[in-house]
C-alpha cells in the first residue's frame, strides 16, 4: 500500500516527542507578516472570542444531539477552530465562502447568528435553512455563505462557479472553498482544479487536513509524493502547506492566496494541518478505534488551537486571563440564548414540506401557476 514520503512539515507535531506546548515552526516569520502586523489587540481578542463561540456552540449542540433533540448527523469542528478563524479573519467583505459538512465554524464566522444555526440543528422554521437543511446544510447567501454541502467534494465545482460569476460580472472578491483530506480523491475536485487554472478563476481550495476521513488515515486514502496540496502542481496552480495550529501562519498563507486571487485572478490550493477531537460525526461509534486515545489526548493537550492562541495572546501581553475568561463567558451566554431561541421556535408547518422547491411556485408567478409541479 501507498508509498508516501511524508514531509516532516505537515506532520511534524505528530511525531514530536517534546512534551511541552508546541509553537509554530516559523513563529517570527508568520507573526511578522504584514497582514499580522496590522492586527490590533482588539482584532486578536475577537479571534479568540470567535474560537470560543465555535467551541461552545458545538459543545452545547453535542449535548442536545445526544439528548435526542436533533436528527441526522452532527459533524463537529472542535479542534479545527483555528482554520476557520484564521482563514476567515483575512477575508474581505467581497469574498465568498462555501464548504462541506463540517462547517459550523465557517458559518458562525460568516455572520450567521448562533440563534439561526442552533434553530437549524433543532429543525425549526427559524433555522438558517428553515429547518430544511440540517447540520450539513447551513446557508446564508445574503452573507456570502453558500453552504454547507453533504456530498464529499460536491462543493468544489460550486465554488468554481461562484468565482466564475464574480469574474464574469466584474465583481471584486474571490471564493474560499473548504474541503477535507478525504475529499481530494473525488473526481469533481480535480476537474475543478483544471478549470480553475485554465480559466484563471479566483478560487481558493482549502484542504482542512485533519489526518482522517472517517476512520481512514490520510496514508490509507491518498497516494501522494509530498503532500495532497502538491497535486495542484499538475494543474500549474500555486499551493501551500500551512500549520493550522498557528493562527498567524494560517492568516499569512490565506492572505497570500487571496492577494493572488485578487491581483492575478489565479487559484490556489492550501493544505492546512489540523485535527478533530470528536468522532467523524457524533454517531461515530468507532471514534477511538482508528486512532489511539493517546493521540487524541496529545492533540488536546499540546495542540489545541484555542489554548495555543490564548497563550500567544497572553505571552504577547495582548490579553489577560480575565479577558479570555470573559470572552468564554460571553460565548457561553450567546449559546444559551441560542438554545432558548431554538427551543422556543416553531417547527416548520406541514405545508412547508412543499415550499422552497420551485422559485416560481413560491412566488406564485405565472410560470409557477402553469402546469402541475407536484405529484403524489
Amino acid at each position: 500500500m501507498g508509498r508516501n514520503q511524508k514531509t516532516s512539515r505537515l506532520n511534524r507535531f505528530v511525531t514530536t516527542t517534546n512534551n511541552t506546548l508546541v509553537g509554530p515552526a516559523t513563529p517570527a516569520r508568520s507573526a511578522d507578516a504584514e497582514i499580522n502586523q496590522q492586527l490590533t489587540a482588539a482584532d486578536k481578542l475577537e479571534m479568540l472570542g470567535d474560537m470560543f463561540r465555535i467551541r461552545r456552540f458545538e459543545q452545547t449542540a453535542l449535548q442536545y444531539y445526544q439528548a435526542g433533540q436533533m436528527g441526522g448527523f452532527l459533524h463537529l469542528y472542535i479542534g479545527q477552530e483555528s482554520v476557520a478563524v484564521g482563514t476567515l479573519s483575512v477575508r474581505g467583505d467581497d469574498d465568498h465562502v462555501i464548504g462541506g459538512y463540517r462547517t459550523h465554524g465557517q458559518a458562525l464566522l460568516m455572520g450567521l447568528s448562533m440563534k439561526e444555526c442552533m434553530a437549524e440543528l433543532f429543525g425549526k422554521s427559524t433555522g438558517c435553512s428553515k429547518g430544511k437543511g440540517g447540520s450539513m446544510h447551513f446557508f446564508a447567501p445574503d452573507k456570502n455563505y453558500w453552504g454547507g454541502h453533504g456530498i464529499v467534494a460536491g462543493q468544489a465545482p460550486l465554488g468554481l462557479g461562484l468565482a466564475y460569476a464574480l469574474k464574469y460580472r466584474g465583481l471584486k472578491g474571490c471564493c474560499l472553498c473548504y474541503l477535507g483530506d478525504g475529499a481530494v480523491n473525488q473526481g469533481a475536485y480535480h476537474e475543478s482544479l483544471n478549470l480553475a487554472s485554465l480559466w484563471d478563476l479566483p478560487v481558493i481550495y482549502i484542504i482542512e487536513n485533519n489526518r482522517y476521513s472517517m476512520g481512514t488515515s490520510q496514508e490509507r486514502s491518498s497516494a501522494y509524493r509530498t503532500s495532497l496540496a502538491a497535486r495542484a502542481e499538475g494543474y500549474n496552480i500555486e499551493w501551500d502547506m500551512i500549520n493550522g495550529e498557528d493562527v498567524y501562519e494560517v492568516r499569512a498563507g490565506t492572505w497570500k492566496a487571496i492577494e493572488r486571487a485578487r491581483r492575478e485572478s489565479r487559484p490556489s490550493v492550501l493544505e492546512i494541518s489540523t485535527y478533530r477531537y470528536y468522532g467523524h460525526s457524533v454517531a461515530d461509534a468507532n471514534a477511538k478505534k482508528y486512532r489511539t486515545p493517546e493521540e487524541i489526548e496529545k492533540y488536546r493537550q499540546l495542540h489545541d488551537p484555542l489554548r495555543l492562541w490564548q497563550r500567544t495572546l497572553l505571552e504577547e501581553g495582548v490579553a489577560t486571563e480575565a479577558q479570555a475568561a470573559e470572552l468564554d463567558a460571553a460565548a457561553r451566554k450567546e449559546v444559551a440564548e441560542a438554545v432558548k431561541f431554538a427551543q422556543e421556535s416553531p417547527l416548520p408547518a406541514e405545508a412547508d414540506i412543499l415550499a422552497d422547491v420551485y422559485y416560481e411556485v413560491d412566488r406564485q408567478t405565472v410560470a409557477g401557476r402553469t402546469g402541475r409541479h407536484f405529484f403524489n
Binding site: 446544510h137 446557508f139 465545482p157 461562484l162 410560470a367
Partner: protein, 324 residues
C-alpha cells in the same frame, strides 16, 4: 411563414436571450470555436465572443457544477451537454446541486440554470450515447424538464427556460435538428407546463413528447388512412411541470389513450402518465391505457435494428388497434 430547422430555432433562441440579458452565458464542450458538435451554437461565438460563449474541457461534473454555482450568484448559464447521456458523469451535480440546493437552503438560493442537449437514441451511436433521462430527472422535485418536438416549440420553450428561475433541463433530439417547421420571425415564448394538441381526433388519444410526437403524428395518418380511426395527438412538450388538464381533456373526448415515448419502459414517462390517467380518468376509460416505448434493451448499434427498437408508427398503430 418561413420554415427553419429545429437546430436553427434553438440557435435563434440562444442568440436572442444572449442579447436580451447580459447574464446569459453559453458553456459547454465545443460550443464556441467549433460551433457546437451538432451546430446548435453555430455562429454564436463569432457574434458574441469569448465571454458569452465558452468552450470547456471534457469535465462535465465541473462545468455543470460551475453552472449551478454561477447561477446562484446571478448568472443564467445555459450549459450544453453534447449528449444528455453524458449527464451521468455529472449526475451528482445535477441532482443534488441543481436539484436540491434551493430546498436545502430554505428557499434562500435559486438556480436559474438551463442544461440542454440532445437526449435520444436512433442514431446508431451505441448504448452509452443513447440515453433518455427525462423520466429519471423529472423524478427530482426542484427541476423542470422539457422535450420539444418541433422547431417552433424548441425555440419558444428554450427562451422560456432561460428566463425561468428554476433549473430547466431541455432535452432535444439529434434526429430532429435537421427537420424544418414554420417559425415566425417575431419573438414568442411558450410557457412550460402547457401541452398542445398537434392533431385533433375523437377516437383515441396519442400522448407523447419529443420525437415520439412525430412518430405519433405519422401513426395518426396511418390510422386515418387505413383504419378510419381518428387519433388526437397531444404533445406534452413539458414533462415537469406537466399539463395534466390537457391530458384529462383529451381523455374525456376520446376515452382511449396510447402513450408513446422513447424511454425504456420501466418507470418511463408513460408509466407516470398511465398512472395519472387511470387515477383521474378511471371512469372515462373504455380500455386500458396502452404504452409504446423503446424495446427494453440498451440501444443496439446495428442501424436497421435500432430503427425498430424505437417506437415506430407501425407499433403505435398496432397498439391502437389492440385497444379500440
Amino acid at each position: 411563414m418561413r420554415r427553419i430547422t429545429y437546430r436553427k430555432a434553438l440557435n435563434e433562441a440562444l442568440a436572442e436571450e444572449i442579447e436580451r440579458d447580459e447574464n446569459v452565458v453559453i458553456i459547454g464542450e465545443e460550443v464556441a470555436q467549433y460551433n457546437g458538435a451538432y451546430k446548435v451554437t453555430e455562429g454564436l461565438w463569432a457574434r458574441f465572443g469569448d465571454k458569452r460563449v465558452v468552450d470547456t474541457p471534457i469535465s462535465e461534473a465541473a462545468f455543470v457544477g460551475l453552472g449551478v454555482g454561477a447561477s446562484m450568484l446571478g448568472l443564467r448559464p445555459v450549459v450544453e451537454l453534447m449528449f444528455w447521456s453524458f449527464a451521468y458523469v455529472a449526475y451528482d451535480q445535477i441532482v443534488n446541486n441543481a436539484g436540491c440546493i434551493r430546498y436545502m437552503s430554505g428557499g434562500s438560493i435559486h438556480v436559474p440554470l438551463v442544461i440542454r442537449g440532445p437526449a435520444n437514441a436512433g442514431t446508431n451511436v451505441g448504448a452509452t450515447h443513447s440515453h433518455t433521462p427525462e423520466n429519471s430527472l423529472a423524478n427530482v422535485p426542484g427541476v423542470k424538464v422539457v422535450c420539444p418536438a418541433t422547431a417552433y416549440d424548441a425555440k419558444g420553450l428554450l427562451k422560456t427556460a432561460i428566463r425561468d428561475n428554476d433549473p430547466v433541463f431541455v432535452m432535444e433530439n439529434t434526429l430532429l435538428y435537421g427537420e424544418s417547421w414554420e417559425v415566425p420571425e417575431e419573438e414568442y415564448l411558450i410557457p412550460l407546463g402547457v401541452a398542445e394538441v398537434k392533431r385533433e381526433g375523437a377516437d383515441v388519444s396519442l400522448i407523447a413528447h419529443g420525437r415520439a410526437v412525430i412518430t405519433s403524428l405519422k401513426a395518426a395518418e396511418l390510422l386515418a388512412a387505413n383504419h378510419g380511426i381518428h387519433a388526437e395527438v397531444l404533445d406534452l412538450r413539458s414533462i415537469r411541470p406537466l399539463d395534466e388538464e390537457a391530458i384529462l381533456r383529451t381523455l374525456a373526448k376520446t376515452h382511449r389513450a396510447v402513450l408513446v415515448d422513447e424511454n425504456k419502459p420501466f418507470c418511463g414517462v408513460s408509466a407516470q402518465i398511465a398512472s395519472i390517467i387511470q387515477e383521474k380518468a378511471f371512469d372515462e376509460l373504455d380500455a386500458p391505457v396502452g404504452r409504446v416505448c423503446s424495446l427494453d434493451a440498451p440501444a443496439i448499434y446495428s442501424p436497421p435494428l435500432e430503427r425498430i427498437q424505437l417506437p415506430t408508427p407501425e407499433r403505435v398503430v398496432e397498439k391502437v388497434l389492440q385497444i379500440t
